[in-house]
Symmetry: C2
Subunit: 635 residues, 2 copies
């Protein structure tokens, strides 16, 4: 009973049921409590209060900056089996990562210059490539990546907590799912209104990282940098290979995901937008580089090894501060900033999904704004997919990372190539410089994407490489369907007009009682001559019905049908076929079904849902208009 | 990736989806393939071909006889921690079990004499107690028990297989679920037609058990019965207590579940029913006693200890036959007979559920016969509950047994007390003897039930003791609801008659296209003056709609509503409120909604299900007749 595994099923179930409940709009009270009062469309504009760049910076950089908590660790884990001799590789790998970071930031600054109103990889690709699959590569890999961001960030956050409190370790999966669930609720409530609050955790986390680094440097100055635990530098460990180093490098690059956020959000900055956004990018680059380098250096100096139960950040912090309050604060800030990174993804995912859906490449429900103006369907979809991933990988960050970074770098590459094409076509001031930067960016990100695909292929990257084309194919199929429907429904106002045709009205009766009385009252009120149809399962019940109908005063014509197979649909559909043949295909056939509405929802379980089954079947198979006449039970 | 745990969620999902699919009746082809052609109600009678008693015996005894495979093991497992000194307890415990078996068989023979047409505990209780909760105790505990039988038998069957092939051990849960799923399909097809086939596995298993026992006796005659491995007899081990012995005894009694099957099925026997059924009972008692005693004796002689990875039967068989073909045959017959025991439960559960539902204590859907004449909803419910149990307990038989036997003995007790009351009231020939037997039976089974409840309380029996009253309470609530509804719907034929009232017809239009054209054609064909209602989210779209409506030639009156909160329901329900107030509550309000039917099912995902949401909301909150006019897309 105390193995956490079997709770997975239970949680999945509860979660699914909850999703169903909140998507049913009449689940009013709980929805109000969790989601809040509905908001007017007009309230949409007031949300974008413009932000000072140094306030926008922490808000928008939670995703990127939080990844320093797991990026270096993900890299060095790949080399862990080579022993202590391989530990020095963390230094060159981190330097390469920082070089890549600088290139990416420069490329994205070019993106801001090109698209001052903000434009993600999808918008850039759509603008610069005629082939629609290119922009779909960008959007699909970003959407996959957002899902993975939620899964990875939440899992990493929970891993940070369980490093400090090993007692929660067996419950990582459940706790991660609960976090996703809370994020879902928060995002359905709408988060934009309180965005400024989100600056503080990132600032707090950055301060914590700085404290760790400064304590490390202080320790170095007092006791010497190279210490007893410091592994040798520059030795070539047994079993090392270029592939392995590339693998470690690509894993470490997972620290760079989320870099695109600022460029998507340029309009959020105070005027001048572009200049402020560029300032933020530069500041972000400087702070992230310092943190990465300092953190990696201390990890090397202290000779820390990756452990499945204790993150390297937690190990390092506890070396300096033990399990003091300061250590606890660092852990909790790590947790909060990682959850925040997941949180910011909810907005990103749902907005991108809405844009792609508006172009007809994803189901149109994703463009619906919910009561609180968020794209609630996208938010729910993201939470559901992320939960499934967390369950499937048991909330293990390192197992998820191979799937993670390939999508990011794929969309980076598409955006860079798009910008390259743009500079060629548009030119503009200093276009050769911008072109050069984006070509460099495109080549480097393409190389990293390929390194990822090759080195992590068996480790899970194949999943993304299989899923991606499937999503693109589905997107194109969806668009084709919408195009077909639009063409089919288009009407020529001067040629077609609602014509009056004959209506044959059939009322399904199951006996003689109040519900049937009410239904017949409606049918007769419509005018015309309704036909009552009774389906009996044996001769006895049919005879009885005919007799009672007579006794009731024959309110309208009664047709009795016998069902040998205990099905109502079969005899009824045969009867309707006869009517169709008699009347020709010209008229409307109108089937009226009584609908029993119990006072309480659970009571529905106690009544056969014949009306529902009939509607599903007839809509699928026949051209029959179906009317449900409700009868509300009082008890 | 290779931990089996995360598949649980996936399987649960697939299973749930499958259940939904087969319950939707238009899922025609797959249903035909899996379930077979539908059968006429008239085919029901021809099923009960009467059986000779020695053929009926193995068919009806799979449930009881198969439990010898795990009963003694379940008993001795309770004492395993006391070491070798406690092993001899298997002998007195098995003897007690056999004594109980004899008492129960005698009691059930009395049951047959009282109810020659077969009557389970529920029928007996209903017939002899006025208080309806007594019969509900019997039915509910039996229903719980049937669910547990499926879970326990399937788990035990898979454990037998994994004893022989340890490679499947990590997949026990999944394989058990697959077995339940196959049983579900088989039972939805209907099993009664091929019932005779089911005699052979039980016979085969009995022969296997006899081969094991005879080999053991032969071995004993050649090498002496008391061997090196034989533990001391009669020593009092350290740590033994009365409670522990009772606990072991009650676990061993799980071998007696399924004893009621023959008494429920008296009409299946050739004439004279009763005499043949009694013969079968006596034969069953003799064979089961011999098997239990022989098996337990050999287990003692060979000093076999329970092991989580290797059943005791498998250990014993491999001592005599190694891993030869004979051993494999024994294992596979054990598996087959246990699966068969689970299979026979499907009929028992669904029939009992149907009888109780017909009395109004369970949802009425359980009385519906499916296409193949089985009570398909009961069959599906059983499979679903059993799967959940297997998942929750990771297919560990010994964890499930505490929950198992309490229900059986509770229903035994109710049946015995019922029979006791009957002999008092009805009397008849030799009633005092029958009375004495049933009183003894009632006292003994009550004692065993209490021993179970006490000794296994913390081990899981509390679950049953909590669930049981809940089910009984629900049953009574359900019956009350049905009674209320029947009272509310009853009509006085001479006083009430369908009256003609005014109908206000409202057509919801989302623009001007073919679907709307078709809907308006129907609305106008009904006669009267329909009102078209358009809900716009902004002024622009409303202005445009009004203009186009004019251009179209104003097919009927148009009302435009603006929705500030992007909801169609809110403005529409406010509009309907206005209409209601104008017309008074006397007339019918008739809302016509266009319904878009894509050619393929998956395409439904691409269209907003506004019609469905409107129906759910309006049926819940307003007294509005709702008509859906389908428009079938061609592509």
């Amino acid at each position: 009973m105390n193995h956490p595994g079997h709770w997975i099923g239970v949680i999945l179930f509860v979660f699914a049921i909850f999703l169903i409940l909140i998507s049913i709009s009449n689940f009013g009270l709980v929805k109000r409590l969790l989601i809040g009062r509905p908001m007017r469309t007009a309230e949409l504009r007031s949300h974008h209060t413009k932000l000072l760049w140094f306030i926008a910076l922490p808000i928008l950089s939670a995703d990127l900056y939080s990844s320093v908590a797991y990026g270096p660790e993900a890299g060095i884990t790949e080399l862990a089996h080579l022993g202590s001799d391989a530990k020095w590789y963390i230094i060159p790998i981190t330097i390469s990562t920082i070089v890549l970071l600088v290139i990416l930031i420069l490329s994205y600054i070019m993106g801001i210059l090109a698209y001052p109103n903000g434009g993600g990889a999808y918008a850039i690709a759509k603008d610069n490539f005629r082939a629609r699959w290119v922009s779909l590569v960008a959007s699909s890999s970003l959407l996959i990546d957002y899902i993975l961001t939620v899964a990875v960030s939440v899992s990493a956050g929970i891993e940070a907590v369980s490093s400090a409190y090993p007692v929660v370790a067996p419950y990582e999966t459940i706790l991660s799912i609960i976090c996703v669930f809370l994020l879902l609720v928060v995002n359905l409530r709408g988060v934009a209104e309180s965005a400024k609050i989100f600056a503080w955790p990132t600032i707090g986390f950055a301060v914590c990282m700085m404290i760790v680094i400064i304590s490390g440097l202080y320790d170095g100055f007092r006791h010497g940098f190279v210490q007893q635990a410091t592994p040798p530098f520059g030795t070539i460990p047994k079993g090392i290979s270029t592939l392995l180093v590339l693998k470690a490098f690509s894993s470490a690059c997972s620290a760079l995901t989320g870099i695109e956020t600022i460029s998507n959000a340029v309009p959020v900055f105070r005027e001048p937008h572009q200049k402020n956004a560029i300032k933020a990018y530069i500041a972000l680059g400087v702070i992230t580089s310092i943190t990465l380098m300092g953190f990696a250096y201390l990890l090397y100096v202290k000779g820390i090894s990756p452990s499945p139960n204790n993150t390297m950040l937690s190990q390092l912090a506890s070396l300096y501060f033990g399990h003091s309050i300061l250590y606890q604060i660092i852990i909790w800030f790590t947790f909060i900033v990682l959850i925040l990174a997941a949180n910011s993804t909810f907005t990103g995912f749902s907005q991108l999904a809405a844009i792609v859906a508006a172009d007809g490449y994803l189901p149109r429900v994703l463009t619906n704004r919910g009561d609180r103006l968020g794209y609630s369907n996208g938010i729910i979809a993201l939470a559901a997919f992320a939960s499934i991933l967390i369950l499937a990988f048991h909330a293990h960050t390192n197992a998820l990372i191979p799937l993670y970074a390939i999508g990011v770098f794929l969309s980076f590459t598409v955006a860079q190539i798009g910008l390259t094409r743009r500079w060629f076509n548009v030119k503009g001031p200093k276009w050769q410089v911008k072109l050069a930067i984006n070509i460099t960016g495109a080549v480097i990100t393409a190389i990293v994407a390929i390194i990822f695909a090759v080195t992590k292929f068996t480790g899970g990257a194949w999943i993304v490489l299989v899923v991606l084309p499937v999503i693109i194919f589905l997107s194109i199929t969806i668009r084709r369907h919408y195009d077909d429907v639009a063409r089919e429904l288009r009407i020529n106002l001067s040629e077609e007009f609602p014509e009056i045709r004959e209506v044959t009205t059939i009322v399904l009766v199951s006996g003689i009682h109040r519900v049937v009385n009410n239904t017949l009252s409606f049918a007769k009120s419509l005018g015309g001559n309704p036909i009552a149809v009774y389906v009996g399962f044996d001769d006895e019940s049919i005879r009885k019905m005919e007799h009672k109908w007579e006794e009731w005063g024959y309110p309208c014509r009664l047709v009795v049908l016998k069902s040998k197979y205990r099905s109502v649909i079969d005899p009824l559909s045969r009867f309707i076929k006869v009517v169709e043949e008699k009347k020709g295909k010209q008229g409307h056939i109108h089937l009226i079904i009584p609908q029993f509405i119990p006072k309480r929802g659970w009571q529905n379980l106690l009544h056969n849902q014949t009306a529902l089954q009939l509607r599903i079947w007839f809509f699928r198979h026949k051209d029959v208009v179906i009317t449900s006449v409700p009868y509300h039970l009082k008890k």
